[in-house]
Amino acid sequence: MIPQRLFEFLESLKPESTCDASELTYFSSTTDTVRVFEGRMDQVSFAHTEGLGIKVWLGDAWGYAYTESMNHEAFQKAFTLAVAHAGIASPDPEDRPISAPHRGAASNPTHSPIALEPPEMLTQALHLEAQTRAAHPAIYNVTDTTLSQCHEDFAILNTLGHSVCFSQFTQGAAVSALAKSGNQIINPWREGFATHAGIPIQDMVDWLAREVALRLRPARVVAGARTVIFHPVAARQILKRFEPVFSGESVLHHTTLLEGKLDQLIASPRVNLVDDPQNGPVPRSVDGDGLPTSRLTLIDNGRLINFFHNDYTARCLKATANARAVRGLKSPRGISSSHLILEPGELSLRELMRETGSGILIMDLAGASASPITGDFSYSALGHVFENGEITGFASGFTIAGNFLELLKNITQVGCDLEFEVPSLWGACGMPPIVVENINVATD
């Protein structure tokens, strides 16, 4: 439900003749976080913040300002600043307030049944740390065990009568362990998020125990053009980094290599990339413009058939709008997916390794050398070496390099084990494992 004071703020603008239209975006979040270390509470934090963004239009130009002080004086200051910004902005006739009145509330309940009281959060965090410490005898330190939950509210309303709001609740945990054998130190970490059954603590611990056992067997990777399997975590890291290539904003500003490639084959026929806001960890029926969302296919059997658009880019490019707007308190106009997934295939990760025979199972990536503008990437990587379908050892200290568009074309198999990341207000990306040929591997 939209707080009444927002309508009062908006109402207070109507006598103003200084602008032609106004729009408010409202953000509120309440967060509890517990971090434990060595069997005791290390830090807990509680946060409650609100913020209000004000966008105004003067003719064809618009300006924006925000405030975190939710009183009339601060609101008026922000309004004045937004008007000043509109006064210097270049005319942008395609950026208009949402005119079709659309009123409603959407999405999750205000209070989730899985929300925990603080003492229970501490209990679960201590349990996660203790279980992790006991998961394998080589674990000598659990450096970071964190549990957090967040309730967020978003609302958008304008002087043309458009008003929509939604709420999200997310709850997640993360744990990072250090283990060693001789001089070899490894640092596996795992995140999980709550479903109706709560946070999957035992799954997280079991996963870490398996990884520690596997990672303490050192192996070397062979440099050269190799076939690799990306674990869902690593596959997500790549897809999220390169998501902007699918944005209408990138098409508009000529910064995507996919410009002009609609209806062309840009990926392996095994690739079906879809975004479904209403099905996933944080279902949402409206976007950041407050417009209704629906499932969208970006790549259909390897063919690019859509870009992500908000109301603005769709107008500019004379494309069909598909309600992928996102907003931030400091970023009034953006585009993003909600539940972007590569549709899973048939085979499990184990079956993918058997079918591939020999290669590297990439578990994690690090590095900032990946550009959505050029498509090139070069990451520091770590992962398992496998031969004849079986893991034989673990390697770090190597790099993988390639180009995102080439990677899409070189996907030879898509696994069935879809894993989502810990969700945020606007969604969560999910990936199954993928097999990719011809990735350039470098090592010493």
Partner: protein, 464 residues
């Protein structure tokens, strides 16, 4: 509004409930961002961040609450949430931080002046237009230019139960220009993004056209370059942003937050040789007007110049209050946070390797086959394993003591403690460069820096 009476009440209530230490961090930050894209002012936005962080410490445990609601009810709710945890405290342990009286340090006068606000918006827009035009004039391959003007005035007050009451302002400006070069089938980028802890005079002294040309020339050059070969060979890292190697390879591992948790390869190494004897390094928060400088840190402690490494020997860690207490060291004024939304932890400020005696030409001449990394992008590190990485945004292959050709797409990886020992040349001319560092307490502005230096062997990840 938060007033002295309410502050006194919060302190009294927190102590009554068993807190050993109480701190209130009040922040008001005014920011403005102008974006020029496609030859037009695409976005003009700005606003005010306002909030309060309340930190209670009991037996070394931290209870942090923050809110943007500074009404009496908002603050009392905030305190109630924090103290509700105190009631679940570990009983029977000694207080970790006994309250001691301390002098009040008044760093700058009150009265939150905003010098940026006196500058006409049109002058700021002119800077963007100038950069756009200069970049596009540089070469016909420049297909897009994206420029940002960023200003920020942060006002903070830190009050704690030891009698410290510090307030002051931090004004920062940054200008960023990114040029994209295209040949129709490929794109490459070049970026320049200087910043300083200054008001508008920073922008007035910038060579805007020069910055834009540099960004555009790099984008064009990289378009013409080949992919970097992979391998393990000598790497010469140029001065300025090359200092990101020390930031990632070593700096994060010397923050007390990671040392306390035994999550750094530099734990228990004080007094030990951890780097080549050619390496001496400092973290200096006092450099006038530099991007990472602060008069006092986010716990209200005056900043200082901290000698981290002297001729290869580790001298100290960068400490916040809790870290210093835990490690038996003194606070180095290194507690930082992005905003009131974060509890402070030890972080870097202006971190750099001190000059040596070599020249860049000598280093190149002494390299038979290697990489000259002239410009670097961002990187990251796992402090527990020491494994780091960073991107080369402008590189050149060296053969037989000479620069042979430009190369692109390289990433440098290694282990910090190993790479520090493999530095065999340190240049004689120091350069600093600006970046944003992300870690536990959010994103904070930092300078990285070094003279040009050579690492005898490094893993270079490339595609050729």
């Amino acid at each position: 509004m938060l007033n002295q009476k309410l502050i006194d009440h919060l302190f009294e209530d927190a102590r009554h409930r068993g807190a050993d230490f109480v701190e209130i961090f009040i922040e008001e930050t005014h920011g403005e961002k102008l974006t020029w894209l496609d030859g037009a002012l695409k976005e003009a936005s700005g606003g005010i961040d306002y909030g309060i962080g309340l930190r209670l410490i009991q037996n070394g445990q931290v209870f942090y609450a923050h809110t943007s609601d500074d009404s009496e009810k908002g603050m009392r709710d905030c305190l109630a949430h924090a103290t509700s945890w105190l009631s679940a405290k570990d009983q029977g342990q000694n207080a970790d931080m006994p309250a001691t009286a301390s002098r009040v340090v008044d760093m700058t006068p009150l009265g939150f002046e905003r010098p940026f606000a006196r500058i006409d918006l049109g002058r700021k827009v002119d800077l963007l237009r100038c950069a756009d035009q200069a970049a596009r004039r540089t070469h016909s391959s420049i297909s897009q230019v994206n420029t940002h003007y960023l200003e920020q005035s942060q006002f903070v007050r830190v009050i704690n139960s030891e009698g410290r009451d510090v307030h002051g302002s931090r004004h920062r400006g940054r200008f960023q220009v990114t040029a994209i070069a295209s040949n129709g089938s490929e794109n490459q980028t070049g970026t320049e993004s200087p910043g300083a802890c200054k008001t508008f005079e920073f922008f007035e002294t910038l060579d805007i056209e020069g910055l834009a040309r540099t960004a555009a020339e790099r984008a064009h050059l990289m378009l013409l370059s080949e992919y970097c070969p992979s391998g393990n060979f000598p790497v010469i890292i140029d001065k300025g942003f090359g200092g990101v190697i020390f930031h990632e390879a070593c700096g994060h591992g010397l923050e007390s937050y990671n040392i306390e948790r035994q999550a750094s390869v530099f734990c228990d190494k004080l007094g030990s040789l951890i780097a080549s004897p050619l390496v001496s390094a400092v973290d200096d928060g006092t450099l006038p007007s530099e991007w990472g400088s602060l008069e006092f840190d986010d716990e209200g402690t005056p900043t200082e110049r901290t000698q981290l490494i002297e001729t290869g020997v580790l001298k100290t860690y960068m400490c916040d209050r809790l870290g210093a207490r835990h490690l038996g060291l003194k606070s180095t004024g290194s507690a930082r946070r992005e905003s009131y939304r974060y509890a402070p932890v030890s972080r870097m400020r202006n971190t750099f390797i001190l000059p040596g005696s070599s020249t860049l030409d000598e280093m190149i001449a002494h390299t038979d086959l290697g990489l000259y990394a002239k410009s670097l992008g961002g990187g990251s590190v796992n402090t527990a394993t020491g494994e780091f990485n960073f991107a080369v945004t402008e590189g050149y292959l060296i053969r037989h003591g000479r620069i042979e050709k430009p190369v692109r797409g390289a990433v440098l990886i290694g282990k910090g403690h190993e790479v520090l020992s493999q530095i065999d040349h340190v240049g004689n001319s120091l350069g600093l460069a600006q970046g944003m560092c992300g870690a536990t307490s959010g994103w904070v502005p930092v300078n990285v820096g070094q003279p040009a230096l050579r690492v005898s062997r490094m893993i270079v990840g490339g595609r050729a």
